[in-house]
Subunit: 378 residues, 2 copies
Amino acid sequence: MPLPRQVFVAVIGAGGVGKCFLAQLSSLAQSLSQSPAAPTYLSLIYLSTSKKALLHADYKSQQLSSWESELQASSTAPLPPPQLADYLVKAPGKVILVDNTSNQEVADSYPLFLKKGISIVTPNKKAFSGSYKLWEDIFNVASNGTGANGLGAGGYVFHESSVGAGLPVIVTLKDLIRTGDEIRKIEGVFSGTMSFLFNSFQPTNGGGGKFSAEVKKAKDLGYTEPDPRDDLNGLDVARKLTILARIAGLKVESPTSFPVQSLIPKELESASSGDEFLSRLPEFDGQMDQLKADAEKEDKVVRFVGSIDVQNGDVKVGLEKFDKSHPIAALKGSDNIIAFYTKRYGDNPLIIQGAGAGGDVTAMGVTGDLLRVLRLIR
Amino acid sequence: MPLPRQVFVAVIGAGGVGKCFLAQLSSLAQSLSQSPAAPTYLSLIYLSTSKKALLHADYKSQQLSSWESELQASSTAPLPPPQLADYLVKAPGKVILVDNTSNQEVADSYPLFLKKGISIVTPNKKAFSGSYKLWEDIFNVASNGTGANGLGAGGYVFHESSVGAGLPVIVTLKDLIRTGDEIRKIEGVFSGTMSFLFNSFQPTNGGGGKFSAEVKKAKDLGYTEPDPRDDLNGLDVARKLTILARIAGLKVESPTSFPVQSLIPKELESASSGDEFLSRLPEFDGQMDQLKADAEKEDKVVRFVGSIDVQNGDVKVGLEKFDKSHPIAALKGSDNIIAFYTKRYGDNPLIIQGAGAGGDVTAMGVTGDLLRVLRLIR
């Protein structure tokens, strides 16, 4: 009979995803503590935003019900990564660091945490889509890698939510590879914003609005970044493609080392604000209407997709035309879709589809990864 | 630095799935033995068909390259489950039993193996879709359960390939539940045979053949059981629904304890052979054509689906009409599709789609489960 155990959890970030994660952590901690066979007690020993932190020198657990008011009342500044690592490594048990930020500085310090035996779960794309050197530094020290086993003896690292939020994309790709399948191509719609924009701009059953109007609508609905150019430049999709391509074995140097089509007209790249950009975007609706008409002539629709041709080592992001009956064309709302073409699955790919953004589903991927680490550490 | 370790593997069944699994095991054993951080040596200490077996009293590993000829030359009879358990439990290390049969007797003995600390991976639906008592006996003793933790302290048990072959169906459902999502409905096409039949009988773009002709074509292509009635009775789909419903928390007594629509006309239930059945099936094409016409009037198509309404506790299998733009209608070839409607995913479900039958993809699910057990056992 396994003994009860205590595992320490540190959380950086309490924004949209962070808040949802903390709510899920609270339920999980309760259910794990009541497990009839082998209870696990999760202790929250660190919680920080960019401005404040909660921690106790004696590693006393933070109440998960009252973190919000206590954090507000706190006058403690967050610890820089090296000091945080020193604090966590002295905790009397295994530690899992949950990074719910999209911060590059935190991402850069993953190798440091992992080396000290601290495991990491995160939706932060920066660590896995930045320089290839950081990727190597992480997986050379982590106990789990992208292949059948990890190379190192440090902590475990999981980042399911860095692609497709809670959709089982990374776990599926790794299972295909580990069981010996041969990945030929990965193709899909990887951005909820781009999905929404093109599903409304050119629905399969006709109609749809002007492109600039759809961008404005998406912004009003909260589907875009504050400056919509941060979605339209394609970099978010390029980062996700970089992650999947690397897992599939391609040595992709950075998310700017392959062709990425930006939907920002050259003339508007230097617009001084998102609002100025939006106000001038209608000038370019004619170009987008032309694309739509060209696709319609072939009975197709335009979609913004990413694709990885694993066999030829080609990665690219941009507009493509699809038959109206193609699963990528038939996507609804702001859903993501990811198709894996492999040797075993042949011409009909393995497809995963559903919401690829949002606090709750992103946090779910993080919580799922936390459970994965809990099963692996003893 | 973890030490090298040896894990013992016993395999029952060397048919279509079994052969593919043994080929995958051979590659996996090689790659795991070369892992730079912590090599794992897999030893095949038992392999049997319904007639013959290979085993060594001293647990010497069977060569994975020559099992076929050696099994042919063997004069050893397979061990009945109790004796097999006695043999395996004395192996000098952890043991994983791979059941690649669809045998009820083997399934009935899972609790015995698990109790002795032997882990099980299998595509065999019988153990998980038979009596509810067997389900309880298995998960009361297994170290992993359907919830966050298992109840017992025995071996681990995984059966991803029992639903949708290698598609990540069960792992995804468990992750949704464990991270605290609320499953509302599960709906899909769970049979490659039924998928093929209806995708050809009533394609979304019109046309399609007579139902009896499509059944005959499916049989000629090897997509049906030797007697097609074993597909058309809906029991295979009912078994898969039983498994998913139980994981979702419904106490489904058996695959015959909820409504299952059989596509075998009453008059042909007692036909003496599959051939006689096929020769008389055209008499009933009129009924099927009527269904097709009725659906067409509503601009819909007919599909054979299973659904689980988790909130109301309703499980059912049978024909339903779908809008032509619905993902279930748009399915291709013999693909499966499974849609999870949950609280977090809202109206747009999480969808998994792809080949749900075939030796290689079924074996892949088994190999993936084997890797899962290898990560859990020490």
